[in-house]
């Protein structure tokens, strides 16, 4: 039974042409990034000051940057960090958002009031500005592992500022689900609140959570790139697609490729993920599919 459901969902996903194209492109990029040592001939940190600002050529597919480093290698290794930050912040956002949404939808009353107020507070802060302040805070901590270009603190910070839409979504579904017969029946035979929430309600909210996790991943990649571009995210020399773009503005005249390629990678990956999310929405929510 479960297999047929999965197969039906998969078949509906395949019908969304752009989603399939997006998934394939994403898969290729992820593979290239994982096997970066084989896909790139140069070391991403190796400087070659005699060959600064080389335009794209058979030797350097995407040219070289201001220190003569190979752009293609830096893009692949930078992709590891960019995608990891995106994944980690998405996981943080989904876990926090699902918990907040479940609790406030399930218990209602004062729990709901308090959690909803907290959600509103997070929604009414100027997000990018607070991200910069937090980035400034992280840098002032002077922790050795942040200086070494570690990405976990930044990823967690981004996640903590982007769980609100998941929370609202899960809260709405939980409110509706907790009145359903199967939940009432489970409660009558003595299921605990924990069991009701995590065994009966949560699995039924999985579809919208998966869709918003996909879109959240795209958003987190954009957030990281913006933050690192401004110099408040992952610190150089560790490359990410965002910080590769910082300080490139004065090179635009002589080496436009240093500006074009990192951003193009962000754009391609994000649009591929967004199309995937679109396809997943159609596949997981048949009502949505028939209406479109």
């Amino acid at each position: 039974m479960k297999n047929t459901l999965l197969r039906l969902t998969f078949r509906r996903f395949l019908r969304h042409r752009m989603a399939v194209v997006g998934s394939v492109i994403l898969l290729v990029i992820v593979l290239l990034i994982i096997f970066a040592p084989f896909a790139a001939r140069y070391d991403p940190f190796e400087q070659d000051l005699l060959n600064r600002f080389q335009p794209p050529s058979p030797q350097h597919w995407m040219g070289t940057d201001d220190l003569g480093r190979d752009m293609w290698a830096r893009i692949l290794y930078g992709g590891r960090i960019s995608l990891s930050v995106g994944l980690l912040s998405m996981v943080v956002a989904v876990v926090v958002g699902s918990l907040v949404g479940l609790l406030s939808g399930f218990y209602g009353g004062w729990v709901d009031s308090i959690l909803s107020r907290i959600t509103e507070i997070f929604l009414s802060i100027p997000r990018l500005f607070v991200l910069l302040a937090l980035g400034m805070f992280l840098r002032s901590l002077n922790l050795p592992y942040i200086k070494a270009g570690s990405f976990a603190p930044i990823a967690i910070v981004i996640g903590v500022l982007s769980w609100m839409s998941v929370a609202r979504l899960v809260r709405g579904s939980t409110l509706e689900l907790r009145e359903r017969e199967f939940v009432v029946a489970a409660r009558m035979i003595g299921a605990t609140n924990m069991r009701l929430m995590f065994q009966h309600i949560l699995p039924n909210v999985f579809s919208p959570i998966i869709v918003s996790a996909t879109l959240g991943l795209a958003g987190a990649i954009i957030s990281e790139s913006g933050l690192s571009y401004l110099g408040f995210g992952v610190q150089l020399p560790t490359p990410t697609w965002g910080n590769m773009l910082s300080n490139t503005q004065n090179q635009m005249m002589i080496a436009p490729w240093t500006v074009i390629f990192p951003g193009l990678m962000i754009f391609i990956v994000v649009i591929a993920i967004n199309y995937m999310g679109d396809g997943l929405r159609d596949a997981l929510d048949p009502r949505h599919f028939t209406r479109e």
Partner: protein, 323 residues
């Protein structure tokens, strides 16, 4: 209605209060105190730092400092910028008009693009136009806005030239330095920064309006309007569009945080002397009074716009009950 408004107003003020506590707590919990940024600065000796900390009461417990800080703000004193030594609030005030010009023009252009495209796409659903418009909008929503700005500079400032060899469009600042002030010059300087933000946010608004228009078109009252023999134009613009625009108003109001964020990128990239750039530089130099002033003022503006949206919504849509 009045009761509802008063309650919402009190709620907003309380929310702002909580936000200010969180932000203040965050900034004050920097290890080593907020002067720690100057520890490695050769211009400041350890005694200097100790003297400054004593003078400004930086060694007091956090709640005491918070109370003092709020008290001063209520008196209109937001502290002096560490960098320029001028009052932080004056720094913000000086740049507010520039940011308003940028964001205002951007919002107008966004709506001028998004509303017509959204309507046409919805009315001609699944037409070639609809497919192209929604695809472009989808791509626009996936663009990193700062990179899009850099691309605009590469294309319209670096690559494309006027016949006399000067750049086609200015790539930084609000006016040409040294040139006599003119409206044309100011508008030229607005084109790229505004396009960068407007094209990206128009994508989201257009998709949103399209789907809310599609929802409305299938409502009973639209069918009724058609059934009583109204012309299609009347049905679409008088009955459908009016209702489809209501959610768009909400969206614009609730989108303020991302508009502020977009403006920060624009102002940094195009050297636009606004609040975003002020904030960016303040954060780089750990200029806490300015950072806090901008954070609190922007949070207050966002809360105010949320409140306005609620009021607007209640006035526009008589179905909403104020409970």
């Amino acid at each position: 209605m009045t009761q509802y408004l008063i309650r919402r107003l009190i709620q907003s003020v309380l929310t702002l209060f909580v936000i200010s506590i969180i932000l203040f707590g965050l900034i004050s919990s920097v290890p080593g105190g907020i002067m720690s940024a100057y520890e490695e600065n050769p211009d400041f000796s350890a005694e200097d730092i100790a003297r400054i900390e004593a003078k400004y009461g930086l060694n007091d417990p956090v709640p005491v400092r918070y109370a003092k800080w709020v008290g001063n703000i209520l008196k209109g004193d937001w502290g002096n910028s560490f960098v320029s030594k001028r009052p932080a609030i004056q720094e913000v005030k000086d740049r507010l008009p520039n940011t308003l010009i940028l964001m205002g023009s951007m919002l107008v252009v966004t709506l001028l693009i998004a509303i017509p495209l959204g309507i046409i796409s919805a009315i001609k659903q699944y037409s070639l136009f609809d497919h192209i418009a929604t695809t472009i909008a989808f791509a626009g929503q996936s663009l990193p806005v700062f990179w899009f700005g850099l691309m605009l500079i590469i294309i319209f400032h670096v690559t494309l030239r006027r016949p006399d060899g000067t750049p086609l469009l200015p790539g930084s600042g609000m006016v040409t330095l040294g040139a006599p002030p003119s409206l044309g010059d100011r508008i030229e300087h607005l084109i790229l920064p505004v396009s960068m933000l407007a094209l990206v946010s128009a994508a989201g608004y257009m998709r949103y309006l399209r789907s809310s228009m599609l929802d409305v078109i299938h409502e009973d009252y639209v069918r009724t309007a058609r059934a009583k023999g109204l012309r299609e134009r009347m049905v679409l613009y008088r009955h459908a569009l009016r209702n489809a625009l209501i959610p768009l108003v909400t969206l614009v109001g609730l989108d303020l945080p991302s508009l502020f964020g977009g403006a920060l990128f624009t102002e940094t990239i195009f050297a636009w002397p606004g609040i975003g750039r002020l904030y960016f530089n303040a954060a780089l130099k750990t200029d806490y009074p300015v950072v806090m002033a901008v954070l609190i003022i922007y949070s207050a503006l966002i809360l105010a716009s949320n409140l306005l949206v609620d009021i607007f919504y209640a006035v526009l849509d008589p179905r909403i009950r104020y409970s």
